[in-house]
Amino acid sequence: MTTAVPQVTNRQALRELLSIVRPIRGRLLAAAVLGALATACGVGLLALSAWLIARAAQQPPVLTLMVAVVGVRTFGISRGLLRYLERLISHDAALRVLAELRSRMVDRLAAIAPAGLPVWRRGELLARTVGDVDEVQDLLLRVILPLSGAALVATGSVAGLAIIQPAAALALALCLVVCCLLVPGLQARRMAAAEEEDLTLRAERTAELFQTFDGISDWAALGALDDRLDRLRALEVRTSRSTRLRARSVALVSGTGVLALGFGVLLALLLGIPGVTSGEIGPVWLAVLALTPLALAEMVTGVGAAAAALPRSLAAARRVVTVLHTPDPAGPEPVDPEPLPSRAPVIRLSGVSARWPGAAADTITGVDLELRPGKRIVLLGESGSGKSTLLAVLLGFLRPTAGSMTVDGVPVERIDRQEWTSLFGWTGDPAQILATTVGENLRFARPGCTDAELTAVLDRVGLGAWLAERGLDCPLGEHGVAVSGGEQQRIALARALLADRPVLLADEPVAHVDPVIADRLVTDLMAGGAERCTVLVTHRRQDAGLGDEVLEMSAGRVVRQTVAEVRV
């Protein structure tokens, strides 16, 4: 039941990120430079101190040391301040990127819902937005900024040593290339596939956990908890392979860092001591040569961490961008949308077929239907016969694969999509309740309506007494657990009625409601008045008598279409 998800390359992912980063590139540049300066202060502090101490040992007049003394103190103070500024600026920038990315994600999901959604399981979607977006934030903070800072500092340090002794500078450069470029680069490349797999597995695990917790009572009731834990354990075993690989890779990089800098010190001694003996360099400078590599330890650690984070954040970025690039099952928005011809539309479907993304065959085939103001349509049929799919096509969630759909003679593809959707009031099956108050659940159908209107519409669906007991601020909880199935359906119905749109699409609005109330609700619904067109999807055969037109569907086709005697 899954569709092929579009594959996104690193290049595409980076391009998308670049478009998000562009407005804040000034901040990023400032952060990189400040970070490099802060690190450089640390290196400068130790190198200058080494010179100071070695020179002092030769017992020169104290005054000749004063510049170095002031320099050492300055480095000591500015390092902390620079780092503080760098952190503030870079984190603010990263959080801005995060906010933008998350919003783009929700915008995209809103565009492709609901037909585009089943491609990912819901828990996985959650993992993608919360987890992956955080990882993308790391790409900036823990990869790009530290790496650019390190490049500046490494170059500066090597250049500084080159003034003292070119050979020692070359040796240090060699060590830095090994521990900052070669090993982390090779590891990053080697880990790319493993990280990708690890991230996929983690997302899978989150989805699995979500599903497990979501139905935990059902699992327990089914006695399938051990089976569930086994599945989780199997997933963990697969995850642990990549965890081990990553641990080993991180260890290799950190070990190489310590080793390379140690060799840096040793090489400085091996090259510097003969230099001192031959008089090529002053003995004091030997201390600077030997101690500078030690001062670079923090920077090298940072590079190792950045390299370890790189494949992971890149993979996360790719997955985030994949969501952003998922095609809309409702087709592209019209280029030059036309407004709705009227708010009392005549909608005509002829020969309409449609399928859900990823389905091999059409779910509905060749449906003809006319909706006009005042008309009442009853849609009957077996479960799975395509009734809800037909509603999805009407709502514009799903683009027909064949046939035509017009409103007042204009093809629907040319109509502004927002305006098109605004024609319909809808109550879905199962009823969707948001985790907020009753009032909020209703109000979004008609923002700005009064409490009196809300009370009236709840009264209309037979929830007057219920409301009197609980009040409009009663929270409905996750899946609306604080209310029964029948109450959920009636709240959803109240919402659709409150919206007061020209067309009402009611998908099994009373399946969980007591029969007596259900009869009354359906009768009320079907007495919608001369302006509203009502489409009732039902399995209650007795409701058929309430329609002007009755469609019976089976296996995606209309098998019987009866028009009632002319009623006035």
Partner: protein, 565 residues
């Protein structure tokens, strides 16, 4: 911030090993650091002051090489071992969380919403693992290394030792002061993150409805707003957290600068040898480095400790004690006396008396919201009764409370079909066999499918009953999902079947077929069927009408008691 959550030691088995390894490696690393500094200082002093050439220090350089190799090895081993054991601890704790959620059952409501729990077991556990592998070993180093360095400094140069001793304690002091403030901020941040993830999950789930009412864009805006708020609160936390690392950096680097200048001036006056001076200079930053690294990892650690606290609290939530009795009769008679059902803070229905005779078909009706589903959860043993007795017959003819019965046995006796058809990602066949072990009787499965009016369309699925269903059975209609879970309950070898509105999504003809099927296949078993529709009434041996609800404080006789057959 409390640097460590002590209750973890009790809950996570592998943590003692992790602590021991961190301690041992920490000591080794501290010693190697000191030896390296001393060797390097000796070599430099001999060359700079003594004017010796390379040949005379080759031995020492050789030893230096040995120490460098040792340090590299220790550093790699520490990273590798801690990451592995942290991952193992994470695996263990996740499994415990699932078991705990199962033990808590449906009584866990509201405050531990599913998305929140998944975030805690996913992202939260990742934070905990990062804390265990990154922060905890560092915590050891930050105690061991400064102490070793101080010991060396006092032994070789008192002044420098005093400077470092004077400034070092300021670091944990400031960390504690600022950490105390940050902890509150971190909790606030976690709350925002939780709101963010609940809000997001809710918006995604509700997208179709939101979109239909033209509110999807608005909700996307809401997510934008909430994320914006997240940035504001996070930056507020970070400004303070970074202030802490600013103070730490200033303290550390300034102290090093002080030590360097003081050493330099005493060298000029000849009160100190270069060898000691250089060793002090190399070691002074090492005393501060572990604490500074600790500070740099502070907020990730704060996340980790906060996750640890929440995980531990969740795992420590008292669960209803599981029963142990296994002597329940094979065809148990279930008896409820003065039973009040509901949630700890919200009684829903009762008191009522009820008898479930083996082989009888009881239909429960009543207004929506009266507590029919809550009653079924209680009868299934998933929700403890608030008061009154709910007992089940034992083999010796006596009775025992349902809550005393071993849960595994209870599940083999009683199965429940909830209102939300519960299917998992997997094939139709896997879904039918959920919770069953032992040999599979395919004929029985098909018979159950046929009884649930599902055999026909299951055969027509692309791969028949091997067709894979996506998450929650999406792709099937509500009625199809419902019929599959009914078939599953019918195929299970349980004696008591509790069905909550099993036909609410079916059209009348299909409903009649399913009901007839249930009646036929469940002959000889006890069935409790909750409904608000008329068709099931004809099947009932007995009827229980809960009306529009019974006030919880007044005893109402339901007028129903066990009849004879």
């Amino acid at each position: 911030m409390r640097p460590f959550e002590p209750r973890l030691v009790r809950l996570a088995a592998g943590i003692r090993g992790l602590l021991a390894v961190s301690l041992l490696l920490g000591v080794a690393i501290a010693l190697a650091t000191i030896v390296q500094a001393v060797l390097l200082a000796k070599i430099l002093a001999e060359v700079i002051i003594g004017g010796v050439d390379l040949a005379q220090v080759t031995g020492r350089i050789g030893w230096l090489l040995v120490v460098v190799l040792l340090r590299a090895g220790l550093s790699a081993a520490s990273d590798n071992l801690t990451a592995r054991s942290a991952a193992r601890i994470g695996v263990d704790l996740r499994a415990r969380m699932v078991r705990q959620a199962a033990d808590l059952g449906p009584a866990r409501r509201g405050d531990q919403a599913t998305a929140e729990l998944s975030t805690l077991a996913g992202t939260g556990m990742d934070a905990l693992e990062a804390y265990l592998s990154g922060y905890l070993p560092q915590l050891f180093l930050s105690v061991l290394v400064p102490f070793s360095v101080l010991w060396f400094l006092f032994a070789s140069d008192l002044t420098s030792g005093l400077i470092v001793l004077g400034t070092l304690p300021l670091i944990p002091l400031f960390m504690a002061l600022i950490g105390w403030y940050t902890q509150r901020q971190t909790r606030a941040k976690w709350r925002t993150l939780t709101v963010l993830s609940n809000h997001f999950a809710d918006v995604v789930a509700g997208l179709p409805t939101l979109k239909a009412f033209g509110r999807a864009k608005f909700q996307a805006g809401e997510v934008r707003r909430v994320t914006g708020a997240y940035r504001t609160t996070t930056m507020a936390t970070l400004r303070v957290a970074f202030l802490s690392s600013l103070v730490l950096e200033l303290l550390a680097t300034l102290s090093v600068a002080l030590v360097a200048v003081a050493v330099g001036l005493r060298l000029v006056s000849g009160n100190l040898t270069l060898e000691v001076g250089l060793a002090v200079l190399i070691l002074a930053p090492e005393a501060y480095l572990p604490l500074r690294t600790l500070g740099a990892r502070f907020h990730s650690a704060a996340d980790g400790v906060e996750s640890a606290r929440r995980i531990v609290e969740f795992l420590d939530t008292p669960v209803p004690r599981a029963g142990t009795r296994t002597d329940v009769a094979t065809e148990p008679r279930i008896l409820a006396t003065d039973l009040v059902v509901g949630y700890p803070d919200a009684p829903v229905l009762g008191p009522l008396d009820l008898t479930l005779e083996p082989g009888r078909f009881l239909v429960v009706t009543g207004a929506s919201g009266v507590g029919k589903s809550t009653l079924l959860l209680t009868l299934a043993g998933l929700l403890p009764p608030l008061s009154g007795a709910l007992t089940v017959a034992t083999v010796d003819g006596g009775r025992t409370a349902l809550s005393e019965v071993d849960p595994a046995l209870r599940r083999r006796r009683i199965s429940l079909v909830g209102q939300r058809p519960f299917l998992v990602a997997g094939s139709v066949r896997e879904n039918l066999l959920l919770g069953q072990d032992g040999p599979v009787d395919e004929a029985l499965l098909w018979r159950a499918l046929a009884a649930a009016d599902a055999a026909e369309w299951v055969r027509l699925l692309p791969q028949g009953w091997d067709t894979i269903l996506a998450d929650g059975g999406s792709g099937l209609s509500a009625g199809q999902r419902q019929r599959l879970v009914v078939a599953r309950a019918l195929a299970a070898p349980t004696q008591v079947l509790l069905l909550d509105e099993p036909t609410s999504h079916l059209d009348t003809e299909s409903e009649l077929r399913v009901l007839a099927g249930i009646r036929e296949v469940s002959a000889g078993r006890t069935v409790v069927l909750v409904t608000h529709r008329r068709a099931p009434l004809d099947l009932a041996d007995e009827l229980l009408d809960l009306g529009s609800g019974t006030p919880v404080d007044t005893a109402v006789s339901t007028g129903l008691s066990g009849g004879t057959r």
